[in-house]
């Protein structure tokens, strides 16, 4: 950052960011607990990566479009997805992708990196319509090995598309550490292949993330071409609730990274500048805990969709052939 961003000097704004990161972590802990007790599906925790997620989302405008992978709960919540929607999604209910409040954002892309071309396509749409909007595509370090990402990056470069790619580099692709993923010293340098400037930033510094992504977005919206930002963070937890990271990395490897984790870091800064006190923390935890708890009760009380819905969104209108299958299915299950 050449100059300190304005928002960084505003305690209220920093508290907003802090709140969003704590919300993300609170949601995360609850989601894991639900999964462990058989009430949620496999879940990908973002523990330790909250600053990347919240930072990039806070840099976006409402009318920008988020094209995420599957670990950006913080960004989705900031953009208006509700805890209930996220729970429904991870609980195996398509309604979790409805995002009433972020109607143009893409759902999670589980196939790693395959969403990068979508972000380029969304950005192309903005460019063709002459709209001052941008797409933000987020993925992990492992995704940078996928051809899809390279293809999308190259096209974004030659067409100067308003898209910012953010690499949430948590140093691991399940069991594969980033140094075994590529010989590139940084992931930031990968954009040189597409003639696009790349930046590497401290992904545990939410201020840096927001500032750098915001600058890239401003440039992109103004027709300055795409951005490629490597945010260095660390996956403190298992890859997902289906993973047992102790099989491939030991505590000695992980524990040092707790010292850099983004939530505590911003908290101590807030405390330092006198903007945050124990009571604030207690009040916040209580408030967010209650918010998540009520979302959880709502989630648990949500009946599944009617079985007929497995058919109804396959096409805009049900083709006759499929309508017959639907009739047979409902006949059988009633």
């Amino acid at each position: 950052m050449n100059t300190v961003a304005r928002f960084a000097a505003d305690p209220a704004e920093l508290i907003r960011l802090y709140r969003a990161m704590v919300l993300t972590r609170t949601f995360d802990a609850k989601a894991i607990a639900l999964q462990r007790t058989g009430r949620l599906g496999t879940y990908a925790s973002s523990l330790g990566q909250e600053a990347v997620s919240v930072g990039l989302a806070s840099a976006m405008r409402a009318d920008d479009v988020l094209v995420p992978s599957f670990r950006e709960h913080g960004a989705q919540l900031w953009r208006g997805a509700t805890p209930l929607e996220l729970l429904l999604y991870w609980g195996g209910d398509e309604r979790g992708n409805s995002f009433a409040a972020a109607a143009q954002d893409f759902p999670n892309s589980v196939p790693v990196g395959s969403h990068a071309p979508h972000a380029a396509g969304v950005a192309l749409a903005f460019k063709l319509r002459g709209e001052p909007r941008a797409a933000v595509c987020v993925f992990g370090d492992g995704a940078t090995s996928k051809g899809d990402v390279a293809e999308a990056l190259n096209i974004a470069g030659v067409w100067k598309l308003p898209v910012v790619f953010v690499i949430n580099n948590n140093r691991w692709a399940i069991s594969v550490p980033v140094e075994r993923q590529t010989a590139a010293h940084t992931l930031a340098q990968k954009s040189i292949a597409a003639g696009i400037p790349g930046e590497q930033i401290d992904g545990n510094d939410v201020i840096a993330v927001r500032d750098v992504v915001a600058r890239a977005l401003t440039k992109a919206r103004a027709g300055g071409g795409p951005g490629w930002i490597e945010a260095l963070t660390y996956r403190l937890g298992d890859h997902t609730t289906a993973d047992d990271a102790s099989r491939y990395r030991d505590d000695a490897t992980v524990s040092p990274h707790w010292a850099d984790e983004p939530v505590a870091r911003l908290r101590s800064h807030l405390v330092e500048i006198g903007a945050w006190h124990r009571e604030d923390e207690e009040r916040l935890l209580a408030e967010l805990g209650a918010m998540i708890d009520s979302a959880v009760s709502e989630y648990l009380a949500t009946p599944p969709q009617a079985s007929s819905t497995i058919f109804d969104f396959t096409y805009a209108a049900l083709p006759k052939d499929l309508a017959m299958q639907r009739a047979a299915a409902l006949g059988e299950s009633t």
């Binding site: 992708n97 893409f106 071309p117 396509g121």
Partner: protein, 326 residues
């Protein structure tokens, strides 16, 4: 009305759709100045400009993926994959994203895109330029698969595909691109995407086919007619969703069926046609259902490709077996 070829009909439909709807954009390799290697997009760049006719870098997965992004934003991209031999890298996008964006988001985001590609053999093309992968796409829920076999059907079906709110894989038989000319009125009339075409009415035998094989099949029907055999010829055209009714009506009437396609036998779409009949028209069947198809082999290089592609002789042999069967 002017006499035009199939590839000209594709071009005409593209121009008409772009004229009528600003959200229609064409993208792909060499679709701009070059007008496409078969000239399917000839003149579109000059007429509609670089913002609506985009020469993409050489990247099929991205061509499909860009289209998903454009479509989710309300555009109607018509993407060209230069040959179906190069469509395989786009399958991931079609299966994992294009086909399911609507259902994944409960209709919040949709994917009205068309993936066009020249398909099939018989033009003595280089390796990988003569593929018939329609069955792979026809197995994918959420996709539509369309293969025209005449200029008029190409025009009407492509218009329908572009206007359809869901993703359509539109395969154009290269062998038919310039094979015949016919009068096509540029009237903007789309054809239904869920109706097979009965090209010839008959009572003795049903011949079911699509794409370039329609030519051989109609020729066989003529030969049979000369022998007093009255065969019905169905151009399936819209493979997915399948118009089972037209099939069943015909076979219920004739009791004998020969299915003809260029793709390999095993797992070809002809299997689905036969399966539907074995499920829902069994009692009407007076003879085993015959399939005349490419063999379960890799498409040979041009010097031997004609040994793989079904021709009139093989169709006639199967038809005669079916007719002779007691």
């Amino acid at each position: 009305m002017t006499e035009i070829t199939l590839v000209q009909a594709v071009n005409l439909a593209l121009a008409r759709a772009m004229e009528a709807d600003r959200s229609v954009v064409v993208l792909g390799e060499d679709v701009g100045k070059d007008g496409g290697v078969f000239r399917a997009t000839d003149g579109l760049l000059a007429r509609f400009g670089e913002a609506r006719v985009l020469d993409t870098p050489l990247a099929e997965a991205a061509i499909a993926g860009l289209s998903v992004g454009l479509a989710a934003q309300g555009f109607r991209p018509v993407a060209e994959i230069q040959f179906t031999g190069f469509i395989y890298p786009a399958i991931d996008q079609m299966v994992n994203h294009a086909s399911r964006l609507r259902t994944r988001t409960r209709g919040r985001l949709t994917c009205p895109m068309v993936l066009r590609s020249p398909c099939g053999g018989g033009i003595h093309a280089p390796e990988h330029h003569s593929e018939s992968p329609e069955a792979m796409f026809a197995h994918v829920p959420g996709l539509r698969v369309v293969i025209p076999s005449s200029p008029a059907r190409a025009y009407g079906l492509l218009l329908a595909a572009i206007r359809d709110p869901d993703p359509v894989v539109f395969l154009e038989p290269t062998r038919l691109y310039r094979a015949v000319k016919e009068d096509v009125a540029d009237d903007g009339q789309a054809l239904p995407l869920d109706r097979a075409f009965v090209l010839r009415d008959g009572t003795d035998l049903t011949l079911v086919t699509w794409g370039a094989m329609v030519t051989e099949t109609l020729a066989a029907a003529d030969t049979l007619a000369a022998e007093g055999v009255d065969s019905e010829v169905i151009d399936l055209a819209t493979l997915k969703p399948l118009d089972a009714d037209t099939l069943l009506a015909s076979v219920t009437k004739t009791g004998r069926c020969v299915i003809v396609h260029e793709a390999p036998l095993t797992g070809g779409f002809g299997a689905e046609v036969a399966a539907r009949l074995a499920e829902r028209a069994l009692t009407s069947l007076l003879a085993p259902i015959e399939r005349v198809t490419g063999y379960d082999i890799v498409m040979p290089l041009p010097r031997l490709e004609h040994h793989d592609m079904p021709g009139e002789a093989r169709i006639l042999a199967a038809a005669r077996r079916a007719l002779a069967y007691q």
